[in-house]
């Protein structure tokens, strides 16, 4: 019987604790870059010390104390420690709110460009390296390095604290958006061969769980968690044996992950219990309509169309209208769906062309449907999606 490799134990503790360590030091020093470096230094020291002396009784506390000491050493070396102490004495002391939440809100600060928010969140909250983030986003490593650097520079003038109550809704929206974008980047790659990159999905789901646990009274935090739990439940079913995408209608629902569906429905119930559903809660409610249907034919399309109408009301967008067209097309017939598509400002959008193709096909207009799918195949940048649309543009030829 072997015992667990001590290096792997240190790394595991690091992944569990690093965000909290960075958050605590950032709150103490007001300097995100210094906090990240000091936390890294503490991790390196743990790699040396723990395998020899054993993991301390409170490993998170050890890392935090060590990182704080490293930060103070650094400030002393720069000769700014006294100045920093005075500055800190003038600042309001950190309140009782969880440090981790403060770090999430800081990484997702609107001062930072969206791309920078994604990279910084994955790096500080997810513990991913620049190289790992670059691989996930299919961009060169220096690009991510630049985004992180620019993000940290932009954050230098930003106090590391929770937003005041009047700014909270807008700031929370930014946090939710960042987590959702990370998920989507993994869920449907916009370019390249890979249809899903489940590591990004998992990290986004984990962050949504963290946020919902830290903000138990927030309807939208619960709503986003619900949405991502339910969408994640289909990850295995939406890819076929050769890596090709399988659309919702064709998925083997026995492969849907029941644990995630149950967690998603629980989180949705928590969001609903606040008495109001925001855009994420409504999208979760829509995802739940699929999750509750035993077969595609059992789907409650009338409820789906209603939910899309509500969503279009609170978060109007052409994409929501596109999805509403699908639901209405199922509930009231293809012509009703096509009527919604007319006039949508989505020229050049492959999904619009594909939805039109599908509605035309179901309305018995086969020739027009094939033309729409040809258009969709020509527009998409996703190789797997292209193959799918080409099959529908040339039925019977494969």
């Amino acid at each position: 019987m072997g015992s667990v490799d001590p290096i792997r134990t240190v790394e595991a503790v690091w992944r569990i604790e690093s965000a909290k360590v960075i958050a605590t030091v950032a709150r103490m020093t007001g300097d995100l870059g210094l906090a990240e470096e000091s936390a890294q230094d503490a991790f390196v020291l743990a790699l040396e010390v723990w395998p020899a002396e054993g993991v301390p009784a409170n490993p998170g506390g050890w890392l935090t104390t060590t990182a704080k000491r490293k930060a103070i050493d650094q400030l002393r070396r720069q000769g700014v420690y006294e100045e920093k102490l005075r500055e800190l004495a003038l600042r309001p002391q950190p309140g009782p709110e969880p440090e981790l939440l403060t770090l999430i809100f800081t990484a997702c600060h609107p001062e930072v460009a969206v791309e920078g928010r994604l990279a910084l969140t994955l790096r500080l909250l997810g513990g991913l390296t620049t190289a790992e983030i670059a691989r996930a986003f299919l961009v060169p490593e220096p690009t991510i390095g630049q985004r992180v650097y620019r993000a940290k520079t932009a954050l230098r003038k930003v106090p590391i604290e929770l937003p005041p109550a009047e700014e909270l809704p807008a700031r929370l929206a930014s946090v939710l958006e960042v987590i959702y974008l990370i998920f989507n980047e993994g869920y449907a790659a916009t370019s390249g061969e890979s249809w899903t990159r489940s590591d990004l999905c998992f990290e986004a789901l984990r962050l949504a769980r963290v946020l919902a646990a830290l903000m138990p009274a927030s309807s939208e935090a619960a709503g986003l968690q619900a949405l991502l739990e339910i969408q994640s439940s289909r990850l295995a079913a939406r890819v076929g044996p050769d890596g090709e995408p399988v659309l919702l209608a064709d998925q083997d629902r026995s492969r849907w992950d029941r644990l995630l569906i149950r967690r998603g429905l629980d989180a949705l119930a928590r969001a609903e219990s606040t008495g109001v559903l925001g855009p994420y809660g409504l999208q979760a409610a829509i995802a739940a309509v699929h999750a509750r249907a035993l077969t595609f034919a059992d789907t409650d399309w009338a409820r789906m169309a209603d939910l899309y109408r509500l969503l279009a009301h609170v978060a109007p967008s052409p994409i929501v209208e596109l999805n509403r067209a699908v639901a209405v097309g199922m509930a009231e017939g293809p012509e009703a769906g096509l009527a919604i598509l007319d006039g949508l400002p989505l020229t050049g959008n492959p999904h619009l062309a594909a939805v039109r193709g599908d509605l035309l096909d179901r309305g018995g207009r086969a020739e027009e449907a094939r033309a729409a799918f040809r258009e969709a195949a020509g527009l998409t940048r996703n190789a797997r999606e292209k193959a799918l649309y080409e099959r529908r543009a040339n039925p019977g030829s494969s």
């Binding site: 134990t9 790394e11 595991a12 569990i16 646990a213 990850l235 295995a236 644990l259 967690r263």
Partner: protein
């Protein structure tokens, strides 16, 4: 990656579980939830029945069963790798070691088949 972590008791002292241990377990559970790692858990109310196939023979027995080596609880964790699951099990067992002298048991970490 998803792991099932079970808790099995080997030996239990005469004393009841200390309240301090119970609240520490609650805190650890909250911490694991806030880390986005703990996704499901339950204590077991005991063993109701055993349905066994031995030598081609099916037997159903509803006890009473010996209480030694009893399965106490399970938890499901979603974490980035196995070492992380082991770390959570480790923290859970440390609480038992430190707060309930004389208690002995084992936590087992099983990788589950999912995405």
């Amino acid at each position: 990656m998803r792991y099932l972590i079970t808790l099995t008791r080997i030996a239990q002292p005469e004393t009841p579980p200390p309240a301090e241990l119970m609240s520490a377990i609650m805190r650890l559970g909250q911490e694991a939830t806030e880390a986005g790692a703990l996704v499901d858990q339950s204590g077991l109310r005991g063993l109701a029945a055993e349905v066994e196939v031995v030598g081609g023979k099916l037997t159903v027995s509803d006890g009473p069963f010996a209480e030694a080596k009893e399965l106490i609880s399970y938890a499901i964790y979603e974490v980035r790798d196995e070492a992380e699951a082991v770390e959570w099990a480790n923290r859970f067992m440390k609480l038992h070691r430190d707060m309930w002298p004389g208690w002995e048991g084992v936590s087992r970490v099983f990788p589950l088949m999912t995405f």
